[in-house]
Symmetry: C2
Subunit: 144 residues, 2 copies
């Protein structure tokens, strides 16, 4: 859990774009890498603030954008209108099943659905570039 690979990727991205390292970026990356959750900018901000109380919101957004461009992070836009960030590196593609009561995120995977999506796009003469599939409902604990 030292995230050597991820850190190397970020360093390489920084280098390739002639950017610079900073305490803030390192800290935000660390906080992000240490959780497997689907965090909002606000949640990240609160977590980072505990280690560096002078951090600004804009730096969170800016850094998460960098991590996304570097291929370490995926931005998720679910129904509540707040962007969530999740690990991308070394995580295979998946979609989400979300409990609308408690907010639980379950990662789902369906090669069969992906195939059918391709088929549909092809049938209409489209070249598929991405898709969004989210299932909403009540989880085991919330449905009672």
């Amino acid at each position: 859990m030292s995230f050597q690979k991820e850190k190397a990727i970020f360093t390489e991205y920084i280098r390739s774009k002639n950017l610079k390292h900073s305490e803030q970026r390192q800290l935000i990356m660390d906080v992000f890498l240490k959780t497997e959750k689907h965090l909002t900018a606000e949640e990240l901000y609160e977590m980072v603030k505990k280690k560096n109380p002078s951090i600004g919101y804009a730096t969170i957004y800016r850094t998460m954008k960098l991590l996304t461009e570097a291929g370490l992070c995926r931005e998720l836009h679910v129904v509540d209108g707040v962007t969530r960030y999740e690990h991308l590196y070394n995580h295979k593609h998946h979609d989400h099943l979300i409990c609308t009561k408690c907010g639980k995120f379950v990662e789902i995977e369906s090669p069969r659905i992906e195939e059918l999506q391709e088929k549909i796009a092809k049938k209409h003469g489209f070249i598929l570039t991405r898709h969004r599939l989210e299932l909403y409902g009540l989880c085991k604990s919330c449905k009672n």
Copy 2:
């Protein structure tokens, strides 16, 4: 194309909630019903403005909310962050295939995908209440 049924549904909704009819509501509903497109509030506003130049933006939003509550309209939230409105009454459930270059909307339907979604939800102990499936890509004319 007189939309008798739709208008009756709206009238009944108005009655059931002790609301009132108004010129503006009638006009916005007419404009909405006459197109089969996936319109934004801005597009509706521009169209309605031609018939009633004093219309306000807020009235568009308010009326579209009423039409949605009445079951005549479905709000669509696609990636660009702008809500679109489409007919719901007498239209069976479908998802969308969208061209990211020209904005073309294609309505798609896949009972097989819907089944698989139910299966996945069940497997994780969820009760599915809704889902969002959008396919993005380049259409026949835009992919060249």
